[in-house]
């Protein structure tokens, strides 16, 4: 009776583990890119909504100035909930004087919108600035 010991090539344990590690890294990278794309698209959508709200603030201040050039008291809701996200709005109006610009007096209006992004657990901000002049 003869026993033939034929040598067969096969994968060792270390080779298999290395291959699995590489595969996990590649799949992890693809999954991360996928998730990042979704978050970026979502952030773009939230930013456009915030831009609309900031524009609303600027337009309300412009209306207040048109109705009473001496006063900028405008009324807008400080918080607005859209798409299940609460946006808080605030405006700062700084009076500036410059003999060379806008007839010597103008106002810098800054509308700031803040909201909390639950997907990235971070606070987001959108700011819109404009200049209003004394138009009388």
């Amino acid at each position: 009776m003869s026993v033939s010991n034929t040598k067969k090539r096969a994968f060792g344990l270390i080779e298999v583990m290395t291959a699995l590690t590489v595969m996990i890294v590649v799949i992890g990278a693809v999954a991360t890119v996928t998730r990042q794309s979704i978050l970026t698209a979502q952030n773009a959508k939230d930013s456009i909504v915030a831009a609309g709200l900031a524009q609303d603030v600027i337009e309300q201040v412009t209306l207040a100035r048109n109705e009473n050039p001496q006063s900028f008291e405008s009324t807008f809701t400080p918080t607005q909930t859209l798409n299940n996200i609460e946006y808080s709005r605030e405006v700062t109006i700084d009076r500036k004087t410059d003999d060379m610009l806008y007839g010597g007096e103008y106002w810098e209006v800054k509308a700031s919108i803040n909201w909390y992004d639950s997907q990235t657990n971070s606070n987001k901000n959108y700011t819109l600035k404009t200049i209003l002049t004394k138009w009388q």
Partner: protein, 165 residues
Amino acid sequence: MAIKKQKAFTLLELLLSSALFVSAMVGVIAVVSSSVSTISQTLKVKNINSTLRNVNEYFAGEIHNAKCVKVADESAYILNFYDSNCINLEKVVYVNKSGRLVEKPPSSEEQYLTPENITITNIDENTPVFVSKDDLLVEVKFNISVSGDEVSSTDYMTSFTRRLW
């Protein structure tokens, strides 16, 4: 009689390799399917963002320069643009039944302002699309979505002040 020995795969090797191949393909298909879904969703958001920007630019141009603009009494979906005396109707902008924004001059054909696959509706029953404050400021509030896709639905709100009077 000589029997030739040929190298081949045994049944067990074939079954094992098939099982491994199927397992690997399940993972690959899951990743590809997820990527395709992400691309599709991203494109929908991109279309909505693009439409919102275009609509915003349109209203900013039209309302800022309007001589007289009023929300139609009978419907919050209709915005009427008049001449400087607020008597003669120059143009109507409205949201039609299929959810598209339309511009209609009195003696011309109507022109669509939003793409066919984008739908505009009011945010809820109690919130009109157009609200006018003293005929000087027009508030615009609506929901925009890719037709038939609730996930892409976005509520949008802004306002525009007339600059000319």
